[in-house]
């Protein structure tokens, strides 16, 4: 599950770093839809054909980018190395809300392709995390369905929040929404 840090040819590491870096910069200027592979390779000072050696297409690049960004948020809060508590669940929901909000404001939002890839990555990571948490609590109960419901609910709430016209205070929103998620996980406590 962890991204195994294989010994990589330094050229590969360098090239991938250049691509990711160029992409990060471009996202600050343009919407994802408006970014072409050419843009990325020009800014990265990389040949276009080289790009395709490392990524299937620009969507795979975004996928990788989101994976890194969100994993960083999770790890910086040590959520990946703790266990379930109502408070940690609250922090998780907050994290997802803030991440989506940041991504939505920083990177000029572009509907078509951007959001679904964000969703897939974030939702998966939340799902995996919940599975670990629940598995620790009661190893005899099946966690799949509860983790699925909770992961989708959490992302849905965060998405709802980040889309809201006039957003309420985040804390207030989380206070109101959290019980709806927590109620499904109580059976494991």
């Amino acid at each position: 599950m962890l991204p195994i840090e294989e010994k990589l040819d330094p050229r590969v590491k360098r090239t991938r770093g250049l691509i990711l870096g160029a992409f990060t910069n471009l996202l600050a200027e343009k919407s994802f839809d408006a970014i072409s592979v050419q843009d990325v390779t020009e800014k990265a000072q990389i040949n276009r054909a080289t790009f395709y050696k490392h990524f299937l297409d620009k969507y795979a690049l975004l996928d990788r980018w989101v994976e890194q960004q969100f994993r960083q948020e999770i790890e910086s809060r040590v959520l990946d190395a703790c266990h379930y508590t109502p408070d940690n669940l609250r922090i998780l929901l907050l994290t997802v809300c803030e991440f989506l909000f940041k991504v939505r404001t920083d990177c000029m939002q572009s509907q078509r392709q951007f959001e679904p890839l964000i969703e897939k990555q974030v939702k998966n990571q939340v799902y995996e995390l919940l599975n670990v948490w629940l598995g620790k609590m009661n190893p005899h109960l099946s966690t799949e369905i509860s983790a699925t419901v909770a992961a989708w609910a959490i992302y849905g709430l965060a998405s709802h929040y980040s889309h809201a016209k006039k957003l309420p205070a985040l804390e207030k929103f989380v206070d109101e929404a959290l019980p709806l998620v927590a109620v499904n996980l109580e059976q494991f406590a």
Copy 2:
């Protein structure tokens, strides 16, 4: 909200019908990603430029297609003209599961663009439906958050079911999963 049946130029109606029809047929042979606008217009016997008069791109076409297909499922079960009961909620979850399963098996599944658009359409329709249901029950309570959680949970469960390697009996799955959705709506009863 309802797709207003405007009086349309018969040429328009004919062309859109041809496009939707060609697209339906193509989905049975190819994955969505593999279908090009050219494919559609060739099969529809339509000029490619004409296509762009009616749809922004092939994703907009899929969007429209899903909207029609799923709305049909909802309406054929009269879910849009009834009110909340635990049993209707059950039917709704079943409907989404069956729809996703059908789509997944009929149309050769293609990850990248197909699923997200299905999700957006289906989830929105479920959300709107739940808002109506909940609004009827207790007009004083705010429905947004509950409807959001429930809509995401329902779609997530259906997605989980349709992705499962060895799928359990649908009825069994729904029996197990339904309470996790229903518990969030009980405050309205």
